[in-house]
Structures are given as structure tokens and as C-alpha cells.
Subunit: 445 residues, 2 copies
């Protein structure tokens, strides 16, 4: 499928890659098992990766399959942690190591980009902005037999969101027949994005050397991927983590236009609330409120965007999260806002490992330069977005009537440390925090 | 916190471990970086792991932290893929490598087990059944300075589930004030479980040798964890994947009692439906129906259990999922049930990598031996549960009125290949499948 996009042509036709200039892909028999590979060893010739290059074809494809050992230019594997399940499929004899995906008719339903941020090597370092266009941009490589996979996929959906249907029923939202139908369904474009990390750029974001980053990734995971140390010539890493999903109400083509309204929520996964509705936190209610705002903004001719990151429990995971809940509920003096972050610090040694500095990349991928309504109270998210060069006009806190029964502790603790409460929330003093209590252990145990 | 449980005492007091019998934990300075470790090398003396041993103290603790290199007896790291974020925290200087969790007051809110399945090395091979009790069972190790972490955490929650509130409003559910309150909140106990794989046992489940399993895990991930090959003395693997969460309505202590009703749904994650309500699949509606059944069963004195696995897109991940959606919608002849699985096979080379053979372990952890209502149509799930020794009395398909607008293709395709439709669904012939169509590409693009 040809994507008729003059900008893509501009970025990809400055230099034309001939198939004859591309090396034969190594078809790795995988009979000899090497424990790791080393920079410069015989047969090792990774396809050149010029991260952020003006020309996508010269930027080069991300080669991360297990097939082309010599040409692979990324550490790790596709599909995040699901590569483990791919391995099980091979172990059980149900999936051939040789399988090459048939990608016919899978191309994006909508065009995205290119945008100037895509060719600024500092602006995007945690995903491949060209990841949804690999079959067109790197067609000569495909024709040569390379197994290159998309790391971004774009499709559409019709959404049945219960809270939206409630809002329609009570008149808070009005059906327009296009964005929001009479039966309460809303129309979205959505993009799934797998992580592709450019290690030098990521190290810069963290203010450490690339070597420090590589060593920490290796050591703190009990020696996952020695290539992190042995292959300093390979700059890309596909980590075994969850990715992100972007939901867009309205016409995505309007997103880069600063004169057209744009509402954005950045949401970090919380299964307990987002799916199951636990009343100890504000996650799903805030997401629901954001979706209403997104629909309204789209109905006004603009766009509403929700970006959903797989960062459960502040990226500490759900086991840690429940341990912290228990500590909070059993604390002497009860579950108080004063101890909210201390409990996490006690168990995990840190309150948050989401690292919002990585987050704006998805917004840059969309071509965002200005956000009219930023539907989040997080100072960390706000600061990261603004520091990355995107302007934010208005910050929208969660309406206080949407805060679930046992979530006052969360809100008070967060507003105290710097979350933006606007005029809706008074900033509690340290003393007042002690008086904001949640459900007690006796109601709990 | 002492867990007063006579069964735990029985399993843990047959042999008492003295602190003096435990080796000093190695405090790894981590100045010397080894690319991998080898079986039998100097300083390598993993704490003995006797998987499935009758006595939990003799079974031994799972040691997976980065601190005690010599005594570590598991490949991989805690928190699944979130260990990558832990590494970022260390790289950025925000988390000390030395941190040891303070686990005071984090112990489970409810007792679980022990059960006979916990000490059958074949019954549970994908999680550590003692994972929520580590601070009590392995107390001598903690006192000696070992960093041992729970891999299971148990807490409670109050649930605001929109569809439950709807059901209450229209009278499908009735508040009892204890399981389901007047305001629509329901009470749950919930457990988060991280994966702990016993490789020999897992290989048996897959019908392959342990060596084949280890090699596939290593090769298909582009050489993640060489220890999979070099440390055949280490039998445990903590893979960087998502875990599972168990939601329980009613008193968990009734679960093992075959005379008390038990309803169970096994649910594999689908973010697009579970959180956002996409109408192309039945996931959230089926989960909502299951939760209603769980509440009713609990109100009748029994228990309702939902087990939620992080297996997005049949464990193929969301990028693959969206590529498949696009292929379905653009197929010549439209999106038909006849092509439902073919599209996945085209893109991924396989239709499903969830491997339900691993799934029953969570049910065995709960002490389940008989399920009265199994709320799933999946023949793969049913077969895996029954093969593992659990009886299923009744299978509950999704009520047809709950099937979203664009999900008829999914249901028809599944019932055709063997999903249990009961009396609710007629099994379509291969010819009839071609006539079951979804929304077309023109409504889609």
C-alpha cells in the first residue's frame, strides 16, 4: 500500500537506496550458540543506524529479529516482554524460527508525520518515529529478504465507554453523530507503540554517561543482555517492557496545528482502577474525565488525545503496589496523606520509577508543539513536556466530585508535593496532611 | 506479623532452620562486571532450591536480588519487566543498589494455603506458592541479612465497577450490604503474583526437554540471559513479563471447599476493550458479566474469582494486534469470521502464544479442586484446567446480548474452532463463517 504523503517522499527520496547496495541478509542457521556477541568479531556488520538522520532511508531500518545475526543493529527483541512467549512457541514446536510476517494490508489507517522532531536525534529517543512506515521506507530491504518489523501500528476503533454513555444520558455530553454517536459510541484512531531506545540519547535524558546506563541495565537485571556491555557499536535497545497506546478523538491531521484546540491526557497504567475500579485511587475517573474532554474538544473541531503508558504502580509493579497498600492501611495513626509516599519509599527505596523524561517522545511523534488543555495534575509530567519544547496553555485537575471514596489520601499527598491542584484544591500543609486519612485497617482486614 | 495458621506451622516446623546453618550472604560490591556466570565457578553456591518440597523451609527461598551473587538461585530479576525501570533508577542515581525493602506490615490481609498442590512439584511451576509468606517462613535468612522479596502480595479493595452499578440500578443485582453495598461498591480480596518459573517443570508442560526450552528462551530473545545456558544448576527463571492478578468476591477461605459454590473467570488482558471499550471484541463485557456472576455467587455464600493475566493480544502484543485488525478490515471480501485466525497466522506465524497450560497454577495456588461455574468459552482454558486435575461443572458462555457491535466475527470464528457456545450459540459451518462479517474497510478508513 502506497502512502500518498508528500512529506514522506521529501524525507525518503533525497537519497534512493538501490537493492544492489544492500548486503545479503544473513540467514542464521542458529546451530552454533554463542553466549554473546562482540563488537568487531567476524561476521558482525550491523546495518548502519544514523539516529535522527534527515533522510529516513539513510537513517536505516531497525533490524532486531533473530534471523540476521550479523546485520542486527539492536539489542533485545520485538514485542517487549512478549518475546518470551515467542520463545515458548518455538520451544513447543508451534512456531517456526523462519517465519517472516506477511504485512500486506497492515499499514496505518492514518498518516502520521513526518515532523521536524522526528529528525532531531534528541527529541525522540525511546521509540522509532518511522516504526509504522517500515514496509514502504525500507522496501528494498524487504525485497532483499530482510525480516524487518513494524514497531508502531495504527488502526481505528469504535469505543463503548460506560462513563461516556452515562455522560450522554445525563446531558454532560451531546451526540454529534460523527465523533460521538447517539448510542454513546465514540470514534477513535489509535496507535500502539513498542519501545525502541537510542541508548546515547536516553543516557543524556538521565544525565549519566552511556556506559553508566548500559552497566546499570545489565547489572540491575542480573545480567540481562551482555551485549549491553560488549556491543558499544550497537546503539539501540528494545527492552522487555510494555509500550504505550495513543487514543485520538477527532482528526489526527489537526494535531500539529497550533490554531486548532488540542486536549491531551498522559495516563500511566493502573490495572486495579482502570479495569477494576478500585476506589483507593483516581486513575480511571481521571481517564474517564479526560475522555469526555477529548470528545468535547474533537466535537469543537479539534483533537483529544490520551496516551496510555504501561507503567503499573509507578513502574514498580503490582506486587510492590499491594505491599505498600498494606503498609499504609496498618500504619500507626492509620492511612494518612503524610505517609503516602513514605510507604512506597520504605518498600521500594524510591517513590516513582516512571521517568517522565521519556514520556514526551510520544507527543513529539504526533507532531504536538502546543497543548491547549493538559488533563493531568502531575508536575513531573508537566515539567517533562515543557522542558522538551512543547507549550502547555491550561492544566485541568480532576474535578473533586470524581475522587473515589478512599482516594483523598492520594490527592492530598500529591497536591502537597507539587501536583497542580489549580483553584480546585488547596495545598495542604505538612500538618494538615496528617489529618487526611483513608479507610482504616479495621474496615480493611 | 505472625500469621496464625496451623497448616503453615505444619509445613514449616517439621524442620527448623537455625541461623547458624545459613551461609553469610554475599554483599556484592559490583565493581567487577562479569558478562555471565558459570556453574561451578569460584564463589558460586546458590541456595538450594527443592521445588515442591513438603517442607517450605527446606524448599528454600527464591533468591533473585542483585546483591547476593553467589547465593542467587534464580535467573532473571524481580518485578517482571519493571526491573528495567529499577535499573534506570540506579543509573540516574535515584535508587541505591543497597536498598533492602522494609516489609513490616506488608504481609497478606488474608491467609492462602498451604494446599497439597503447593508441594506437588508438577502442579505449580510458574509461580512460587510461598511467595506471599517469605518474611515468616524464611525469617532466619532475613535476620542473617538476605534480601528476599515477596513475589505475591495480598490486599483488599472496594470496587466501583460501572457495569455493576448499572446492574444494581436495573435490578439484575441486589445489594446485600456486605458483598455489594447500596451505592454499588463491591468488596474484594486481591492478590498480585509475579512469575517464578521452575524450568524443568515448565519444559514438561510443553513436552520438550529442559535444554530445548532454555535454548529457545535464549535464542528467540536475541540472547537474553546466557545463564539460561551456562547455569543448568539454577532451575528458576524470573522472566521479564507481566504477572497475574486474582480478584475474589466472598470469603477466600471457602474456595477449597467443594460443597460451597465457586465461580471462576480466567481473563487474558485486552487493554483496548478492558480499559477503553473497543467494540471489536467481547473482552470487557465478558469480564463484566463474570463479575456479576462472582458477586451473585458470593452473595449465595460462595466465592467468585476472576484471574487476570497480562497476555495482551494472545501474548503477541498490541502492535501485532493492530496490524491484524487492519489486515482483517482490508481483506478482499471484508472482515469475515472465516479469515479471523488466518490474519493472525499471517502476521505472527501462529494464532496464540498464551499457552494456557501455564494458567491453572494460579487456581491450584488458591486451593481450587472444583469449579461450579467456569465463565469462559475457551476450550483451551477448559482443557488445561481439567487436565491439571480440577473439575469443572458448568461452563457459562457470554450472553449473546452482551456481544458488542463489531464482535460477531470473533465469536463465530471461536465457536467454529471449538470454543464452548453451549445452547446459546450454534456452531457455524466453514461456509457459514464466510457470511459472518464485521464492519468494513470503508466504514473504517
Amino acid at each position: 500500500m502506497i502512502i500518498d504523503n508528500s512529506l514522506v517522499n521529501y524525507y525518503c527520496n533525497t537519497v534512493h537506496i538501490e537493492e544492489r547496495d544492500i548486503e545479503e541478509p544473513e540467514k542464521n542457521e542458529l546451530n552454533y550458540i554463542s553466549l554473546t556477541t562482540h563488537d568487531g568479531e567476524f561476521g558482525s556488520k550491523p546495518i548502519t543506524m544514523n539516529w535522527g538522520h534527515q533522510d529516513a532511508t539513510l537513517r536505516g531500518p531497525v533490524i532486531a529479529t533473530v534471523k540476521h545475526g550479523g546485520q542486527r543493529n539492536a539489542i533485545g527483541a520485538h514485542s517487549g516482554g512478549y518475546c518470551i512467549y515467542t520463545a515458548l512457541a518455538v520451544a513447543s514446536g508451534q512456531l517456526s524460527s523462519d517465519h517472516i510476517p506477511n504485512l500486506k494490508m497492515t499499514s496505518p489507517t492514518n498518516d502520521f508525520g513526518p515532523f521536524p522532531s522526528w529528525t532531531d536525534p534528541k527529541k525522540i529517543v525511546t521509540l522509532d518515529p518511522w516504526g509504522h512506515l517500515v514496509t514502504t521506507i525500507f522496501e528494498p530491504y524487504f525485497n532483499k529478504g530482510y525480516d524487518i518489523r513494524p514497531t508502531i501500528a495504527v488502526t481505528k476503533a469504535h469505543i463503548d465507554f460506560p462513563e461516556v454513555k452515562d455522560a450522554l444520558r445525563v446531558g454532560r455530553l451531546v451526540a454529534d453523530g460523527k465523533i460521538l454517536k447517539e448510542d454513546g459510541q465514540s470514534m477513535v484512531t489509535k496507535a500502539a507503540i513498542e519501545p525502541v531506545w537510542f541508548l546515547p540519547g536516553l543516557a543524556e535524558r538521565f544525565g549519566c554517561s552511556e556506559q553508566t546506563l548500559r552497566q546499570a541495565l545489565f547489572k540491575e537485571t542480573n545480567m540481562m543482555y551482555p551485549e549491553l556491555l560488549t556491543r558499544t557499536d550497537i546503539k539501540l535497545f528494545l527492552p522487555p517492557i510494555g509500550g504505550l497506546t495513543i487514543y485520538i478523538w477527532g482528526d489526527p491531521a489537526t494535531i500539529p496545528n497550533e490554531d486548532i484546540p488540542l486536549a491531551v491526557r498522559v495516563h500511566d497504567e493502573c490495572n486495579g482502577s482502570d479495569v477494576f475500579g478500585s476506589d483507593i485511587c483516581t486513575c480511571r475517573p481521571y481517564l474517564a474525565h479526560a475522555i469526555e474532554e477529548c470528545i468535547r474538544t474533537a466535537q469543537n473541531g479539534g483533537c483529544g488525545v490520551c496516551v496510555y503508558y504501561r507503567k503499573e504502580g509507578r513502574s514498580l509493579g503490582e506486587v510492590t503496589k499491594y505491599l505498600v497498600y498494606n503498609m499504609r492501611k496498618r500504619a500507626e495513626g492509620g492511612d494518612t496523606a503524610a505517609e503516602y509516599f513514605n510507604c512506597t519509599r520504605n518498600v521500594a527505596g524510591i517513590t516513582d520509577t516512571r521517568f517522565q523524561a521519556m514520556m514526551p517522545d510520544a507527543l513529539h511523534w504526533l507532531g504536538i508543539t502546543k497543548i491547549d488543555k493538559f488533563i493531568s495534575m502531575s508536575d513531573m509530567k508537566y515539567d517533562a513536556i515543557v522542558a522538551s519544547g512543547i507549550r502547555i496553555v491550561e492544566r485541568v485537575p480532576i474535578p473533586s466530585e470524581l475522587i473515589p471514596k478512599d482516594a483523598q489520601v492520594e490527592i492530598a499527598a500529591k497536591v502537597h508535593v507539587g501536583y497542580h491542584g489549580g483553584s480546585e484544591y488547596k495545598v495542604p500543609t505538612a500538618e494538615e496532611l496528617k489529618g487526611v486519612t483513608g479507610r482504616g485497617a479495621n474496615e480493611y482486614d
